[in-house]
Symmetry: C2
Subunit: 191 residues, 2 copies
């Protein structure tokens, strides 16, 4: 009997390998050869899943956003309070453990690449739109008098800037400051 190969599972493993390489070496480290080595396969096998380096980077980024979004949604669903949902959302976005720090490193690497790649730049806009329109619903529930979409744009900007600082140098004090700034902002927004 032929070995059953789960295409999607294998694809996810390759994407995880690319996250590890990006997090360890930055986007400069991303070569098809290195990702293949990290995943324990040949570059030929890798190109079976991703045509080239750019396709792999794009897939890697999309998967990273998807994972973070799914985790944030699950956490928010557990809370009944609208304020607590937003507080949990920002907590989920902080680079407070290895997994989330790795996600941040992938995003930062991606932003750098997107400044010189129009396809990645358009992808960044699309992801921002998706996040902001989803987040605006939570903001509207928690702060009905606010301009929910504007506040969602601002919150994403704040998370990106404040989280970036904590992710670049993930010291306890940088993380503590990021958390405090974001929590205070949510509390003022909801008040």
């Amino acid at each position: 009997m032929p070995k059953i190969v789960d295409h999607e599972t294998r694809r996810q493993e390759l994407i995880k390998a690319s996250w590890n390489v990006i997090a360890a070496e930055g986007l400069e480290g991303v070569t098809m050869r290195k990702i293949a080595a990290e995943a324990g396969c040949t570059t030929g096998r890798l190109t079976h899943y991703f045509a080239d380096r750019e396709a792999l980077i794009l897939a890697s980024l999309r998967a990273s956003y998807d994972v973070t979004g799914e985790r944030a949604r699950e956490t928010m669903a557990k809370n009944a309070s609208t304020q607590e949902k937003l507080l949990q959302f920002v907590e989920e976005m902080l680079p407070a453990d290895d997994e989330r720090l790795r996600e941040w490193k992938v995003w930062i690497a991606f932003w750098g690449a997107a400044t010189v790649d129009p396809i990645l730049a358009a992808e960044n806009d699309a992801r921002h739109e998706a996040w902001a329109s989803e987040l605006a619903e939570y903001v509207g529930d928690a702060a009905p008098k606010s301009n929910a979409r504007e506040e969602a744009d601002l919150l994403i900007g704040l998370i990106n800037g404040v989280g970036l600082h904590a992710a670049v140098n993930p010291t306890k004090s940088n993380l503590k400051r990021a958390r405090s700034l974001l929590r205070t902002h949510i509390q003022q927004l909801v008040a």
Copy 2:
């Protein structure tokens, strides 16, 4: 008579060449060979000013922050109103022309490199501290009842996140949104 070589002027020219390469190709493009080509000199000449790639990147980043800071200070000094000073500050920080967009590309490239380089990460913290403590004085003048240092940290985070989005894809609508978010934030802070 020997040719008079202005060491500092030449150094600045080499740094500008590195900005151009980083802005055009990302940090991945930064090799000593490429910077030398952009500056129209030999790599031997370049290493006379910067020992290696990392020294050049660090100098390039510091110079970029210095230029931006100096321009922001000059603009703020022209305004008497404390609110207007802050509004001008955020305007100066937007990637609204080629020069400032290039600065953003340098910063974004630097953040990416800093996630995998402790020396650059420490430099990022030091630059944040310097900016935040300077900005806190302006915030304290414009909004005396606020926690000026916290608001300065938050404002820098917001500028970085909102400006990043506009710099990654510098469309008119992204720039307009970034400006609007930052101006509204300042107006609410000062109110």
